[in-house]
Amino acid sequence: MADVKKFMYVNRKAPYGTIYALESLEVVLIGAAFDQDVSLAFVDDGVYQLTKDQDTTGVGIKNFSKTYSALGDYEVSKIYVDQESLDERGLTLDDLQHLVWEDEDDDWAEKDSIRVLSRAEMADLFEEQDVVLSF
């Protein structure tokens, strides 16, 4: 498969208030059918998209945060979160949902999808991509 490209979806905005987070998630789910090398990055307010126990009753918008757990089913297993963005917002990995994927080559063992990277590591990762889609 020589024509597999590295796609990165960069999520920078809070989950509600704009349509970016939901649009990004839908594009990822649709794009997952094309067998590319997909990864997701969550930086700035984008880290709020992954927080657990979201409750949208007050804003009258569908709580789509549960859908991130389906990413593993769609074979999207590389989710990178920016450490500094978490720090700046007083968040830790424990405030985020526990997202997993099942490794077909390892007897379907459940593995963590989320990896926290420093801003410098994140920059290196951006460098490696063929396509970067920013939301």
């Binding site: 789910l29 649709i30 059918a33 789509f64 549960k66 859908t67 757990s69 389906a70 089913d73």
Partner: protein, 110 residues
């Protein structure tokens, strides 16, 4: 568009998918299936119920590839394949079963 169950009217979009997911009741599946001359057996219901549980957990109707794999895991390999699912739902397990389950068309489905 719309259909009726026991005198109650349910609204659908131009492709027959229910507009209000929360209104769904088992009678809706029967009524929508009848419109397409599709009998519903226990095997059909197994898939419909699976889809409703999946939606409840993840808030999406899964792509057919994801559905097939998930069914295989939950209900057994003999059911987790395209042949079995297409025999039950000849218009496509994603589209047709999601419709009867009162879900939107699967994300990414044209």
């Amino acid at each position: 568009m719309s259909f009726e169950v026991n005198g109650k009217t349910f609204e659908t979009d131009e492709e027959g998918y229910m507009v209000n997911l929360l209104e769904w009741e088992p009678g809706c599946a029967e009524a929508m299936a009848k419109l397409e001359d599709q009998p519903l057996t226990d095997a059909h219901w197994e898939v419909i119920n699976f889809l409703r549980e999946y939606y409840d957990e993840y808030q999406i109707a899964p792509a057919v590839r994801v559905l097939t794999k998930a069914i295989g895991k939950k209900l057994g390999k003999e059911k987790g394949n395209s042949k079995y699912l297409y025999e039950l739902f000849p218009y496509g397990p994603g589209k047709q079963a999601c419709k009867y389950a009162g879900l939107p068309k699967p994300t990414g489905c044209v």
